[in-house]
């Protein structure tokens, strides 16, 4: 019991903006650096080392940005929903700010997945766009992100914005499994999952490593950007707070 309260109180300590602000300031450069290194390695493998595909030629190399972006687009929404739960259950201000800080990055990755998918679709399917289930549900995910951001920017009472945003994030999260399983549920043009924890991967080793490195890079990048953004949010919201003035930021 005692340890439980202790760990809880530590959790809340880091969940307080005053503690988190300097922590985030120290952490984000590291994440950014790791992201850069991983991205360089991933691109090197993807563009230079991985072999040219037998059927698709070099256009398949879009995969190194397309798939990580698609993964991140869904993953970030899940993380937002997680923070939404925290917002409701523990009423921590920080979790709401994290939710808000993540949304633009999520929207960006969704957009990149759509964009690169479209670029890829032209040579392989002969069309920029087809209305198959996965593509459509990814598009809907973009709309969900946009709806979330529009709502957040329309509310300027922070307390209300936090709680309303959390509600939207939670309700919208049902869409993520639909995207992920769409290829399974409906017979579609789009590729099914080829990376799985239970099966041996069905693609070349170099490709897989390159893709995973890129995915990690995107992940680190998202964390770095979210930390930077959350710092900006903290400054904006706590400009009257004494600790911030002492930190010399306001």
């Amino acid at each position: 019991m005692a340890t439980l309260t202790a760990s809880r109180s530590r959790f809340f300590r880091y969940a307080s903006p005053a503690t988190f602000y300097p922590l985030a300031g120290r952490l984000w450069p590291w994440f950014a650096a790791v992201a850069a290194v991983l991205a360089l390695a991933g691109l090197a493998i993807g563009l230079l080392i991985a072999p040219t595909d037998a059927t698709q030629g070099d256009s398949y190399r879009i995969i190194f940005i397309h798939v990580p972006a698609a993964w991140m687009s869904m993953f970030i929404y899940l993380v937002m929903a997680f923070y939404a739960v925290l917002t409701f259950v523990f009423q921590t201000r920080l979790s709401a700010m994290m939710m808000r800080a993540l949304a633009p990055t999520g929207a960006m990755f969704t957009f990149i997945a759509l964009w690169t998918g479209a670029l890829w679709g032209k040579p392989t399917w002969g069309a920029w766009w087809v209305w198959d289930a996965r593509l459509t549900s990814e598009l809907i995910l973009l709309f969900l992100y946009l709806g979330f951001m529009a709502l957040q920017s329309a509310i300027d009472d922070t307390r209300r914005a936090d709680r309303a945003g959390a509600l939207v994030a939670l309700v919208g999260v049902v869409n993520v499994p639909i995207i992920y399983f769409s290829v399974k549920w409906w017979n579609t043009l789009h590729q099914g999952a080829s990376v799985s924890l239970t099966r041996a991967p069905s693609m070349a080793r170099e490709m897989l490593i390159g893709m995973l490195l890129m995915a990690l890079a995107c992940w680190m990048y998202s964390i770095a950007v979210a930390l930077v953004r959350v710092r900006a949010l903290i400054v904006e919201r706590e400009r009257d707070a004494a600790w911030l003035r002492e930190a010399g930021e306001a």
Binding site: T158, R237, R239
Partner: protein, 222 residues
């Protein structure tokens, strides 16, 4: 009458109430204790937080600190039961523009689960001097007439606590006198009235409690 209205001696008390709106802290440490029959006058400059305080009292918004108690029990534990003890009238009159005065009164009564006969409603409207406009859609009423229709609820409700946010605004002298009388009667029957007003109104009241928000303010006066 007195006894069936009030089975136990009523008491409205607040302790250490503090309020923030957005990033701004409005007041803190607001406390009072109002026994049955007392008039609580909430005073303060424009923007000092009177409306905010009243909304906290009735449970429409939440305070950052402090609590409100009714007959000794904190009200936050059972909001529905608390709402059933009080009548609140805010800056907005809660009239539906497309309903006429009588219908509006009926809607308000049934929302509060205080059903009343058509005659009672017309009598209440007559008391506030708008019986001759009972059939006109609220949209067409004048500013003061709208307010009178909203106040006609006071002649019908049996709730022990009235929370009124500037009820005298826009009323002419006759209506003000009528409203003053309603309040006085309610106090005499051991009701409690919480009131804000910028106008000088003289009410004959046995016990008057003044809550001055300027004193509890956290800002330098403008």
């Amino acid at each position: 009458m007195l006894t069936d209205l009030l089975p136990a001696p009523n008491l409205l008390s607040a302790t250490g109430l503090a309020c923030r709106r957005g990033e701004r802290r409005l007041f803190k440490g607001v406390a009072f204790s109002a026994p049955a029959g007392s008039l609580v006058l909430v005073g303060g400059r424009n923007g000092s937080g009177k409306t905010s305080l009243l909304r906290i009292l009735v449970g429409l918004s939440s305070a950052v600190a402090g609590s409100v108690a009714w007959c000794g029990r904190p009200v936050a534990t059972d909001p529905l039961a608390w709402a059933a003890q009080l009548f609140y009238l805010g800056h907005a009159s809660a009239l539906k523009d497309d309903l006429d005065a009588a219908e509006n009164l009926e809607l308000a009564c049934s929302l509060a689960a205080e059903p009343c006969s058509r005659d009672a409603r017309l009598a209440a409207l007559a008391r506030l001097g708008v019986a001759h406009r009972a059939g006109l859609p609220a949209r067409l009423l004048s500013q003061g007439q709208r307010r009178r229709v909203a106040l006609a609820r006071l002649a019908l409700t049996h709730r022990p606590l009235w929370v009124l946010d500037e009820p005298f605004v826009g009323l002419d002298a006759i209506a003000m006198a009528e409203l003053g009388q309603l309040i006085e009667t309610h106090l005499m029957r051991s009701g409690i009235v919480v009131l804000t007003t910028h106008q000088a109104v003289d009410l004959v009241v046995s016990r008057r409690i003044v809550v001055d928000l300027d004193a509890a303010s956290l800002e330098a006066p403008a």
